[in-house]
Structures are given as structure tokens and as C-alpha cells.
């Protein structure tokens, strides 16, 4: 089966205030999506304010220049649409998908909060309570809730930016003030620090006119310089054991640094490698640890601590994580992984292995951009981080072009001295 690529039309422009805009028409269904991406995320949080980027994301839904609290939700949903926002290591996004007759309304709603969110003591207290419940439901009251996305970065990294808890400590969250929020907005939510991505059932010229109408007069201010978050690679294994009081059985996660995602030629072999190791029953580690040795009950491998290889900047990692029964020593699991990595590095890929994994990754990438919303979001990240929204259609072809030797060379880099290991001990074992 030949791997297909897609070619999505992209029109881009930059407004006078510095806002970068990408528009991608697609008339297949009467649906549009609007996404605003701000170039600030967990890594940019000030010390003593862990979790602030995410708390601030919540505050952006609490009313804006002309809209009272609750109005944003109501306007989107009563127009037949859905909305959300999310906070990542390197960006924070806000988005809506709606019937195409609500395009201008959606642009207005997004522009209104880029102009000025309404952040009050009352809204801050309310959303602080909501965020605490979010952290309780996903982490504090949930076995494996922080594993490994919050617990492995501090093992691997030394700087506050890369290693701290992005959901936030309650003490830090409770210290946040309205003034903190105002300064954060002023600094990071400048039009010039954002990308607006609009896709779906629309006319590009009309859409651009609407964007000019609603965004054009938002005053420009300088975009902050993005700090260099680089850290040196590990030179000796780091290993930490943590007890999860709720977990009934143990788990382990391993991570190795990978090349800067900006350098796709160097980075993509690692994307392929993660799938060679862990995708499906024909993958190397499942065959070895799950079906063969039967010492692992579930296994995953991926790039980026939050699971998406294409929405993260340097420094980042390839992660392998495995759940194993209490009776299985963690060193057996790690030894099995090491042996399989060495076997791949020494003996190379077998016939057909590369092509089938490439087909699988390509199909997965295409599936992710079938929805107008999924595509509009992927284009926003690609434009923000690479200036290339077109990447979302080109990715299957790029994956198909990855050389087997590069994948094998990547496997040879996953050696013990370069890795961070987090052992999760089962505090809830019966």
C-alpha cells in the first residue's frame, strides 16, 4: 500500500499589530474552526507560580472586553459549537468548532479576549477552586495520575523551566493574584506572540476581512523574547523511585533526550523508532515483554511528555512506560528493554518492518487531521513553531521518507547512561 499525502491550501498574513494568521478553506462540511495559539506555556511560568499558565487559561474564559462571565460559553454553544482551551509545555491554545454560519461570531469572541480578559478577585477564586478539583480528579485522587508526565521531567531536567510541576502546587496556585494575571497577560498575550488559525467552510478573502475587522485595532505590543530552555544531555543514568499511594501495582518509565524537533530530519527517525518499539502486537517490545516474557501488562512509547511529538520544542524526550505485576522486579523489565534496543541497534530492522510502521504512522497522522478542528489546531502549532502550517499534509510523506539506517542509529543512542528512570512503587498494593 502506497503512503498518500495531502495538500491543504494555506493562506497566511501578518496584521499590523503582529498577529500571524493562517487560513485554510475546506468546503467538505458546513463547519469551521478557529484557534488562537499563544506562545507561552508551562516552561515560561515564573518560579513560585507553578501551574500559573494553566490557571491563566481558565481565567481567559471568565469574560472579556465586552462579554460578561458565562457569555463566551453561551455564545459558542447556542450557535451549535464546541470550545475548549489547553495548556502545554510550549504554548496555550483556545479554540472553537462551529457551524460555518457562526464564523464571524467565533472570530469576534476570540478577538474580544485577546483585547482584554476580565480578571477579577471573584473569578480568580472561583477558577482556583475549579483547577484544584481538576488536579484532584486527574492526579491526587487518581492512581498513576502524575505518571510519568509530571513525575519524570524533574528526574531528567535540572532547570525550573523544564522540570517543574506544570499542573501546579496548591501553595503556588493559592498565591496567584489578579496583578500576576494582569502582568502575565500584558507580557505573553500580545498579538505578536500569537497565531490565529482558521479553517473549514469559508472564503479566505471574506475571512481575512473579518479578522481585520475584529483583530486589526487591538493595540500591538512587543512579543517577549522566547528564552533558551536548552539543557545538556545526561551523561550518567538518573534513577528515582516514588511511591504512588493509590497504585495497586508498579510501573516504570524511561526517557532519553532526542534531537531538537525543529530539525525534522534528525527528529523523525525517533518518531518512527517509538512505534517500531511499541505500536501493536507486532512491535518489538510488546513481542518481547508482553507476549514473550509476560512480565509487562501494558506498554507505551511516545515522544514528548504530553504525548504529541509535533507540538513540543527542544528540549524533549522519547519515553517508554510499562506497567508490571508486583511480583516482577523492575530490573527485569528494564533489562528486557535494553536487550531489545541493543538487538535493534546491532542487527537492524527486519524486512518489511520499516514500511509497515511508516504506513501506520502516516494513517494515524491523516486520521488526526480529518476533522476541521484537528487540522486547524495542527496547522496552528506547525505555523507557530515552524512557520509551516502545510506540514500537516506533508507529514505522511516525510515519515515515508525516513531512512531505516537513521532509525537504527536512533536506537543505538538509547543507552543507559543517557536515560532518566522513574520507578513507581505500588503504595496501594493489597
Amino acid at each position: 500500500v502506497k503512503i498518500p499525502s495531502m495538500s491543504y491550501p494555506v493562506e497566511r498574513t501578518t496584521l499590523g499589530n503582529g498577529l500571524r494568521v493562517v487560513i485554510s478553506p475546506d468546503r467538505a462540511a458546513p463547519v469551521i474552526a478557529v484557534a488562537a495559539y499563544y506562545d507561552v506555556g508551562i516552561r515560561s511560568e515564573p518560579e513560585g507560580r507553578t501551574g500559573f499558565a494553566h490557571l491563566f487559561e481558565h481565567l481567559m474564559f471568565q469574560g472579556s472586553a465586552t462579554l460578561e462571565k458565562l457569555a463566551h460559553f453561551r455564545y459558542v454553544q447556542s450557535s451549535g459549537g464546541v470550545f475548549n482551551g489547553s495548556t502545554h509545555l510550549d504554548y496555550t491554545n483556545y479554540f472553537e468548532a462551529l457551524p460555518s454560519n457562526a464564523l464571524e461570531r467565533a472570530l469576534f469572541l476570540e478577538a474580544d479576549r485577546m483585547r482584554s480578559p476580565r480578571i477579577t478577585e471573584e473569578n480568580l477564586a472561583n477558577q482556583l477552586a475549579v483547577v484544584k478539583e481538576e488536579i484532584r480528579v486527574n492526579v491526587l485522587n487518581q492512581p498513576y495520575g502524575a505518571f510519568p508526565w509530571l513525575t519524570l521531567p524533574p528526574v531528567m531536567f535540572d532547570t525550573f523551566a523544564n522540570g517543574h510541576n506544570g499542573y501546579g502546587d496548591f501553595v503556588d496556585l493559592e498565591s496567584a493574584t489578579v496583578q500576576d494575571a494582569a502582568s502575565f497577560f500584558e507580557r505573553y498575550y500580545a498579538p505578536a506572540n500569537a497565531v490565529l488559525s482558521v479553517g473549514g467552510d469559508l472564503d479566505p478573502d471574506e475571512t481575512l476581512a473579518m479578522i481585520e475587522r475584529h483583530y486589526g485595532d487591538i493595540p500591538g505590543r512587543a512579543a517577549p523574547r522566547r528564552p533558551d530552555f536548552a539543557e545538556p544531555d545526561l551523561t550518567g543514568e538518573r534513577r528515582v523511585r516514588q511511591v504512588d499511594a493509590l497504585a495497586p501495582s508498579p510501573a516504570v518509565a524511561l526517557a532519553w533526550r532526542v534531537p531538537d524537533p525543529a530539525d525534522l530530519a534528525a527528529y523523525l527517525p525517533y518518531v518512527v523508532l517509538a512505534e517500531v518499539l511499541t505500536d501493536g502486537d507486532s512491535s518489538r517490545l510488546r513481542q518481547r515483554l508482553v507476549q514473550g516474557d509476560r512480565i509487562v501488562t501494558s506498554l507505551s512509547g511516545y515522544l514528548g511528555f504530553m504525548g504529541d511529538p509535533f507540538d513540543v520544542r527542544d528540549p524533549t524526550a522519547l519515553l517508554l512506560s510499562a506497567h508490571h505485576p508486583q511480583g516482577v522486579a523492575v530490573d527485569r523489565v528494564i533489562a528486557g528493554i535494553d536487550e531489545e534496543l541493543r538487538r535493534l541497534a546491532d542487527d537492524g530492522l527486519v524486512a518489511g518492518e520499516l514500511a509497515r510502521v511508516q504506513a501506520k504512522i502516516a494513517a494515524h497522522a491523516l486520521r488526526g487531521v480529518d476533522s476541521v478542528l484537528g487540522r486547524t489546531l495542527a496547522m496552528a502549532t506547525a505555523e507557530q513553531q515552524r512557520g509551516r502550517a502545510e506540514l500537516v499534509g506533508e507529514l505522511p510523506g516525510l515519515i515515508a521518507a525516513v531512512d531505516g539506517a537513521a532509525v537504527v542509529a536512533a536506537a543505538a543512542r538509547l543507552v543507559p547512561p543517557r536515560r532518566a528512570v522513574l520507578e513507581l512503587a505500588a503504595g496501594g498494593a493489597q
Partner: protein, 442 residues
């Protein structure tokens, strides 16, 4: 909320979604095949739904192990061969079981569909359930069930289903680890012969394909999957005992998982659209009374919601709110207050209009992708209505009145019509809960 509406742009004329054209054929084996062309990406989505209701106490355990091992090889192919063959076409197949059905969900690059159908046929007609795989998958499933049961959401789900369904198989959605450990290879082979059969089964295919050719291909490939066996119907549901609040103790829990459950109308009921909108106004979307009250006003919870779940023996209304331990009783009070308001007072016309537009808009969004359409079609057909139902549902939603909503609210959203389960720290929540209602601690 009063916003100067003059500044918010109005909606322009809506464009209708394209007409849903479904090619279908019922094969001689009784398998029903439906194909929709959607060429948005060069992929194809496949859903095979096999009715799988069963009465024995260990049925759900057997079904769960069968789901884990259906793809574990045939006489010719090993687990690894099947997985590799799927990867070659950029594809995957997943098998899941619930008390109503076995569902094989898959996808692939569109050009790989013939191969995907061959693999499907190979396991439907020749799944071997190799001893080694059965033992391995059974062990893994037991381990994963232990992990699942450490999650408060799963504990709460199980307690609510037990409360709503008693001895009915729907109470055993999550199988017992001990029952799973006892499942044998012979039982799986026998279950496959008697229950993995085309009668009553539906195959939905959506993607960048030619429907006529796909129907021919599906018929040619799958005609060997044949059996005289017929599916069984799920038993009738027991009468719901709303009873005292069931408090499941989870010492030290920092949150309480509040669950309310009751009956709901099935899709085929003429009043279903009214009930759907009543639920939406109560807690079915973000702009609902429940979210605006206990999240956006009081900050008790992150993501409270109320959903309608459809099963063949009857639909259910399920409400969920995970709240801070110290506000457990106040949160339950608000859940019930909002229910009482729905049941006894008419909703505002604007609330109804908002819920209506949301229901219509999100139906269009969810059927705009290949995967969304395949899943929606599969579940709609499973509720005993036809494709026509999907085409006409927007018009039905459009016709619902305030009075229709109130009638359904009084029936289904009355506080007296729902059973209540709370999973949390009993020592910290029990006393306050008992000021609201009778409480039984477990």
C-alpha cells in the same frame, strides 16, 4: 448575563450538511453491511457490531477474554502476523465487549480495505484462541482489572450499575477478576461458535471508497462467515429502586464521586428529542444549569455532567460530579435542587433554544469525520432505529417545545426518579449526607 448583543456578530444563513447517502445490503448470511463514501482523507473506518447479550453470571468475563483474544491467531496466522498485516495497510483493529455487544473497530489507509476485510474474515471464521495467548491475555486482563478497580471513577460506576440493575447483566459491565481468571479456551471457542455470528450483526464502512464496489467486496470476502445461531436478547430491566443514598467508603479520599442514575427514553421514542434537550439543559453541556451552578458559581467541581446511555434493554440517565470531600453534601444538594427545578418549573425559551442549537450543531460536527460518522451510525442502528432516524433527527429537535421539555423533565429528571451513589471518605461525608437523605454505607 447581559452583553450588548449589538456588538456580537449575528449568524449568517446556515448551510445544510450534505445529504447522508448510505449504500447497504443484507448478505445471505444475514450480515447487514452499510457503506458511506467520505473522501475527506484517504482512509477508511470499519465497525462490526455483533449482538452479545448473555445471561450467565460469568458471561461478561468470557466476553472480555474473547475480546482480548479474538485477534490472537488463526490456523494460518499468529498474533504477530495479524498485527503486522494490519500495520502494512496503516491499519488497526480493536475489539471491545460490553453487556450488549462485541464491537470490532478498525481503520486503515483506504487502499488497504480489501486486506482489512480479509483479516476480519480470517478471525471471524477461524479465530483459534491459542492456549498460550489465552493464558497470557487472561493474566494481563486480571492485572488490568485490578488497576481499573483502583480508580475511583470505576468504583463509582460499578456501584451505580449495581444499584440500578441488581442481578441484571448490565450490573456486570466490569467483569470480576476471579471470573476472568476462570475462563477456559474451550469456553471461548464455544462462545465464538454460538455467538460470534452474522445474524443481527452490522458492518459499517465509511471512507474514501466506492460504496458499490465495497459492498461487492464485503459480500465476496465475508460470505463464508455463516451460522444458523441467533443472538439472544438482554433480559428485561428490573424496576429501579431509588432507595437510600449508597455511600461507598474510600478512606482518605480527597474527592467524592457523586453518581445519580435513572431511566431514560430510547432513541426510537417519539419524545426522545425532548428528553435529550431536557437533559442537556440540566447538565448535558457546559452552558447547562448544573455546570453554571456547581462549577462556574460555586467551584465545587471541574467537570460535572449528565448523559443518556443507550442499551438494548433500556436507556439510562447517568449524572457524574467529582467534588471536593468537604463539599460533598452541599454539591448533592445542588444536584438535586437543579433536578427539582427542572421537574417542577418550565425552562426559559432561550435555554431551550440554546440547547437545541447545540444538539443540532454537535450532531453535524460529530458526523463530519469518517470515524465520527462510522461510530454514530453504528450506535444509532443498534438502538433499533434506521439511518432515516439520523436524517430526521435535526427536524425532531427543531420541533421540541418548552412544554415537551417539562413533561419529560417531570418524568425523568425528578429527584425521586434517580438512585444516588457516593464514593468517598465516609467518616468525612456521611454525617452531612445523612442530613439530606437516608444513607447506607458500604
Amino acid at each position: 448575563v447581559s452583553t450588548p448583543t449589538a456588538v456580537v456578530p449575528g449568524l449568517t444563513a446556515a448551510r445544510s450538511p450534505r445529504k447522508l447517502t448510505v449504500a447497504q445490503r443484507t448478505l445471505a448470511t444475514d450480515l447487514r453491511v452499510l457503506v458511506v463514501r467520505r473522501a475527506t482523507v484517504p482512509l477508511v473506518e470499519v465497525r462490526l457490531r455483533v449482538p452479545f447479550a448473555g445471561r450467565p453470571a460469568d458471561h461478561s468475563a468470557k466476553a472480555a477474554v474473547l475480546a482480548e483474544t479474538l485477534l490472537s491467531g488463526t490456523a494460518e496466522l499468529s498474533t504477530v502476523d495479524i498485527a503486522a498485516a494490519l500495520q502494512e495497510i496503516g491499519g488497526s483493529l480493536n475489539v471491545g465487549a460490553d453487556p450488549d455487544r462485541l464491537l470490532v473497530s478498525g481503520n486503515a489507509l483506504a487502499a488497504g480495505l480489501p486486506r482489512l476485510l480479509e483479516i476480519l474474515d480470517a478471525v471471524l471464521t477461524g479465530a483459534a484462541y491459542p492456549m498460550e495467548d489465552v493464558v497470557g491475555e487472561r493474566e494481563r486482563l486480571v492485572e488490568r482489572l485490578h488497576i481499573a478497580r483502583s480508580q475511583p471513577g470505576v468504583v463509582a460506576r460499578e456501584a451505580l450499575l449495581g444499584r440500578m440493575y441488581g442481578d441484571h447483566p448490565y450490573a456486570r459491565e466490569i467483569p470480576e477478576p476471579a471470573a476472568v481468571a476462570a475462563v477456559t479456551r474451550a469456553q471461548l471457542r464455544s462462545l465464538h461458535r454460538s455467538r460470534v455470528v452474522p445474524a443481527g450483526s452490522t458492518l459499517v464502512i465509511v471512507g474514501d471508497v466506492s460504496p458499490g464496489r465495497v459492498l461487492d467486496r464485503a459480500e465476496a470476502t465475508l460470505s463464508g462467515w455463516d451460522s444458523a445461531a441467533k443472538p439472544q436478547a438482554a433480559p428485561r430491566l428490573p424496576k429501579l429502586e431509588t432507595g437510600p443514598v449508597l455511600l461507598v467508603d474510600r478512606p482518605g479520599a480527597v474527592q467524592s464521586n457523586i453518581r445519580l442514575g435513572g431511566a431514560a427514553l430510547p432513541r426510537r421514542d417519539p419524545q426522545y428529542a425532548a428528553m435529550q434537550l431536557a437533559n442537556m439543559i440540566y447538565g448535558g453541556y457546559f452552558s447547562s444549569r448544573l455546570v453554571e451552578n456547581i462549577r462556574e458559581d460555586k467551584g465545587y467541581t471541574y467537570s460535572p455532567h449528565s448523559v443518556i446511555e443507550h442499551s438494548s434493554a433500556g436507556s439510562a440517565l447517568v449524572m457524574e460530579a467529582d467534588v471536593a470531600t468537604e463539599v460533598t453534601a452541599p454539591a448533592l444538594l445542588e444536584l438535586r435542587y437543579e433536578l427539582g427545578r427542572m421537574a417542577t418549573l418550565p425552562v426559559d425559551a432561550a435555554e431551550l433554544e440554546s440547547a437545541r442549537q447545540y444538539a443540532i450543531g454537535t450532531l453535524a460536527l460529530s458526523t463530519a469525520t469518517q470515524a465520527g460518522l462510522a461510530s454514530t451510525l453504528t450506535s444509532v442502528l443498534a438502538s433499533g432505529v434506521d439511518v432515516e432516524w439520523l436524517r430526521e433527527h435535526t427536524a425532531r429537535l427543531g420541533a421540541v417545545t418548552v412544554s415537551d421539555v417539562q413533561q419529560q423533565s417531570a418524568r425523568f429528571l425528578a429527584p425521586s426518579a434517580l438512585a444516588t451513589v457516593v464514593v468517598g471518605d465516609a467518616s468525612a461525608t456521611g454525617l452531612a449526607l445523612s442530613t439530606l437523605d437516608e444513607v447506607r454505607t458500604q
